[in-house]
């Protein structure tokens, strides 16, 4: 529920075109359409009704996409925004979906995790490619602030893993700074082994948990 208010505020100050698909319910057709419909022959009336139906359906998809964004389910948001552009072209929602989809894509690139080898904070080739993609996006948003969270797997001592997590966060920051981004854009924090994303005491769980997360405290700049 918290998100709803925040999101409504966000929408109010952003693209006007999006405002039509803001509500939960499909908006009632504006009075002007009614007048036109009444004066139109049947075929046009059917087309107008079809148009209204398309707008309503598209509007629902936009609403769903926004809910997905609010819940952090960017994958779903992206799918919905692609769907509305493909299936309901020309609707208000579809017209504004392109920009929003770009923002979602940017958020996804920035948030993509990187992983580390056991007891290491070295940026692997795979992680370097991920960081390069982030840098390309972040360059377009110089005022954005990103929190880099370093995490460790459950092996190792609790306290040393705090230091290892910090080193992993610092490692990503300095890599991004070397790619030309401002150090001030990033805040680092280590959660040691406190927040595993994969349960279990096996190599695949450990590998998933040895990671940096990239958290955007405020996505408004990207999702307008």
């Amino acid at each position: 529920m918290r998100f709803k208010v925040g999101f409504a505020a966000l929408i109010a100050v952003t693209a006007m075109g999006l405002s039509a698909c803001g509500g939960k319910e499909p908006p009632p057709p504006p009075p002007v359409v009614d007048e036109t419909t009444a004066a139109m022959p049947d075929a046009d009336s059917v087309a107008a009704a079809e148009l209204a139906r398309m707008e309503a359906a598209a509007s629902q998809i936009c609403a769903d996409a926004r809910t997905a964004i609010a819940n952090g389910d960017y994958d779903r948001a992206r799918r919905l925004l692609e769907q509305v552009q493909r299936d309901y072209p020309g609707t208000e929602c579809a017209n504004s979906a392109g920009m929003l989809a770009e923002g979602v894509e940017a958020v996804m690139v920035i948030r993509e995790r990187i992983h580390f080898e056991f007891d290491r904070s070295r940026i692997t080739d795979e992680a370097a490619a991920v960081l390069q993609r982030k840098a390309d996006v972040l360059r377009n948003y110089p005022n954005l602030s990103v929190t880099i969270e370093g995490h460790a797997d459950e092996r190792g001592s609790l306290e040393y893993n705090q230091a290892l997590g910090q080193r992993r966060a610092e490692s990503a920051r300095s890599y991004l700074v070397n790619l030309g981004l401002s150090a001030g854009m990033f805040r680092t924090v280590s959660f040691g082994e406190e927040r595993p994303i994969a349960q279990g005491s096996n190599e695949s769980a450990w590998a998933e948990n040895r990671r940096d997360e990239f958290v955007l405290p405020n996505t408004a700049a990207l999702l307008q």
């Binding site: 007891d119 001592s157 609790l158 306290e159 040393y160 705090q162 230091a163 910090q166 959660f191």
Partner: protein, 446 residues
């Protein structure tokens, strides 16, 4: 081993101990091969003198005080692991209390006799220690106790127990001590808790509903250092336990971790992020000021700092060579760090979380041995390494003020527990169990 695991000691099938008898550390032993430190090989039980505690006597109306004091004294003397506790014979009569012949026959070396007098609001416990072998009174003293049921009653009796231990052995007891630790709650949140060393008096000290790390009590027990994520990242705080007031110790960007008090309570040693890695810093306390960088590792992480009991040296975890090891450095000046946790063939060489014994003669830490952590002790010169545990995972050892008991967090097939190990006899007991309790830190004498 069998003989020493009798009486009330808790048998732990999940954790076997291989404890060498301590004693003068005069003959350094070469670092042992892992094969030499398997189960129960170097376990040499020492001699424990027999001790009998006759039932605490009382005047009219003080029976409950006597019963309470008796139970506490009896358990404390047992938990000191200094004595073979001798059971009171079934036909014991009060007149037998100071019957040296009877107790000598039962194997007692020490006899403790006591009476409660005064009133239940202001009871007085009079305790005498007798040398049964020589048939003489060694010590006698009257102790004023707080009213029965008051919060201080148990701790006051614990101090009496520690006095008896001191009379009989010349060494400090551990009854009047507490242990702070972190307990994990639902959904990964944790708080700092405190518990008496006998397992009583469990209570929570913080309620941040966040993540906490590394609690440490001030030498007088009045303040608590700890790390909390309540503001989003790891910040070091000090809490006044009497008033509940919390002040920030260090809140630099990055880590502010592993804070500990100096032995005199006038300084705080902790680790924080310096550039892209972690170094030790020392602060003055009262008021907190004037941070001084202590280590210049430059490569690798340095944290887990601790003081030698004389405050002249520091022990720490540092990883200049990649994996963390235990090092000792002089507290002042830029002396070359000396490595204690040597590479042992077949082990990965990962050692952290050192704690310097209050007696000064041993340093305990955790080392990665055959795919889990075990508690290891070593002499401060790096000699005489002993692996004390060999089953489950055993982490974050902390010394009692007597320099022979260790508390540590243990995880095995039967779950998690905090265990107390007597490094001389190898006896182990549960301090807590069934909860995820970690990072224990033993107080000084309270």
């Amino acid at each position: 081993m069998k003989a020493l695991m009798t009486s009330k000691s808790i048998r732990l099938t999940a954790l076997f101990l291989a404890v060498a008898a301590t004693g003068p550390i005069s003959a350094p032993v070469a670092a042992q091969e892992p094969g030499d430190v398997r189960i129960g090989i170097t376990y040499t039980p020492g001699y424990l003198p027999g001790l009998v505690l006759t039932p605490v006597e009382s005047g009219e109306g003080l029976e409950q005080v006597a019963r309470d004091a008796d139970a506490i004294l009896r358990q404390d003397l047992d938990f000191s692991d200094r004595f073979e506790m001798i059971d009171i014979p079934g036909d014991f009569r009060a007149g037998d209390a100071v019957n040296y012949g009877l107790w000598n026959q039962l194997g007692a070396v020490w006899l403790v006799a006591s009476q409660v007098s005064g009133s239940s609001a202001a009871p007085v416990l009079r305790v005498s220690l007798h040398d049964v072998v020589f048939g003489e009174l060694k010590e006698v003293r009257a102790f004023s106790l707080p009213a029965v049921g008051s919060a201080d009653f148990r701790m006051a009796v614990h101090r009496v127990s520690d006095q008896v231990v001191l009379w009989a052995t010349g060494e400090p007891g551990i009854a009047a001590t507490r242990i702070v630790f972190r307990r994990k709650g639902a959904e990964g949140a944790s708080d700092v808790w405190i518990i008496d060393s006998d397992g009583n008096g469990l209570r929570r000290l913080t309620s941040d509903e966040s993540i906490v790390y590394s609690p440490d009590l001030s030498p007088d027990g009045s303040h608590l250092l700890y790390v909390s994520y309540v503001s989003g990242g790891p910040v070091a705080y000090e809490k006044n336990l009497a008033t509940g007031a919390v002040q920030t110790v260090s809140a630099e960007e990055g880590l502010n971790v592993t804070p500990v008090y100096s032995p005199d309570g006038n300084h705080i040693l902790y680790a924080r992020t310096e550039g892209d890695h972690t170094e030790l810093f020392e602060l003055q306390r009262n008021p907190i000021c004037c941070g001084r960088r202590v280590t210049y590792t430059s490569v690798g992480e340095t944290l887990n700092g601790g003081y030698s009991p004389d405050g002249r040296q520091l022990v720490m975890t540092s990883s200049p060579l990649g994996l963390p090891h235990i090092y000792v450095i002089p507290r002042q000046g830029r002396g070359e760090p000396r490595i204690l946790s040597r590479y042992v063939y077949g082990e990965r060489g990962y050692a952290t979380s050192p704690d310097w014994s209050p007696r000064g003669d041993r340093i305990a830490y955790q080392a990665w041995i055959e795919s889990s952590f075990q508690v290891v002790t070593v002499s401060p010169d790096g000699s005489d390494r002993r692996v004390l545990t060999s089953r489950g995972s055993n982490e974050d050892p902390s010394w009692a003020p007597d320099g022979r008991h260790l508390v540590f967090a243990s995880t095995g097939r039967s779950g998690s527990a905090m265990l107390i190990l007597d490094t001389v006899t190898g006896r182990v007991r549960n301090l807590t169990s069934g909860r995820i309790d970690q990072l224990p830190s033993w107080s000084g004498a309270l």
